[in-house]
């Protein structure tokens, strides 16, 4: 075993984790429910609470996917130590189905999309949607064979705007005399007269 020559004084004592009270967090304790049927009954009963209903209907009205709503419901139950994580995942299907029924019962449409973002399966329909129809693709290919378009010249006649180039009318240029004076090209005699 490698011994640290410079032990830190503010570090944990070896074996300290074994002496710590693991009852500090609900998920450290044995869960309240470990039975599948009992767990779903409890969740459905809790969802029938008025406050919980308001939250679910609000989320459905905002068109939040049912997967997100289900995940939120389950995560709260897991955090409170009511169900374990693995049972929570198993209960996801029935809970989401119940949310869907609630939505339909209230004339709402539930988004039951279960595809994982970034991992959608590649299908011909998806490709068509992404690339357009076959005719569109052929049109694009035909366009590609034509001679390249001539670049559009920048319109220098128009001006304006805070950052635009000033037009000839707006340009504030000093007269020749003023410029000469600024450059010190004026005769001394003339300066004295002035």
């Amino acid at each position: 075993m490698k011994i640290n020559p410079r032990p830190t004084l503010d570090g944990p004592i070896p074996g300290e984790s074994l002496t710590a009270d693991t009852r500090n967090y609900p998920w450290h304790r044995p869960p309240e429910i470990t039975d599948y049927n009992e767990g779903i009954t409890r969740l459905i009963t809790d969802m029938d609470d008025e406050r919980e209903m308001q939250l679910i209907y609000s989320l459905l009205e905002l068109e939040v996917p049912v997967a997100i709503i289900t995940s939120n419901i389950l995560m709260r139950k897991i955090a409170r130590g009511i169900v374990p994580i693995d049972l929570g995942i198993l209960m996801a299907g029935p809970v989401s189905r119940y949310v869907e029924i609630l939505a339909k019962d209230n004339g709402m449409t539930a988004d039951m999309d279960t595809s994982i973002p970034g991992q959608e399966p590649i299908t011909p329909t998806m490709l068509k949607l992404q690339m357009g129809t076959v005719d569109d693709i052929q049109d694009l290919l035909e366009e590609g064979t034509d001679s390249p378009e001539t670049p559009v010249e920048a319109d220098t006649t128009t001006s304006g705007g805070l950052m635009g180039a000033p037009s000839e009318e707006d340009a504030l240029s000093a007269s020749d005399e003023e410029q000469a004076a600024m450059l010190g090209m004026v005769d001394e005699d003339e300066e004295e007269q002035v």
Partner: protein
């Protein structure tokens, strides 16, 4: 994979009827009550309950 992704996968399996409820039954030692069929029946029942109420309201108007 995060928790929400796991929820999505579980949802998909349940909705497709691919969640192995027989295996689950072995662990729980009870009949699984909340099957896809149970929710289909519940949906039918809940929507049927609403229909007569709506008809009554329309008749009153």
């Amino acid at each position: 994979m995060n928790f929400t992704d796991a929820v999505r996968k579980s949802m998909q399996k349940f909705l497709d009827g691919k969640l192995d409820l027989k295996e689950l039954q072995k662990v729980t030692e009870e009949d699984i009550l909340y099957t896809p069929d149970f929710f289909d029946d519940l949906e039918e029942q809940m929507l049927e309950d609403d229909e007569p109420a709506e008809k009554d309201e329309q008749d009153e108007d």
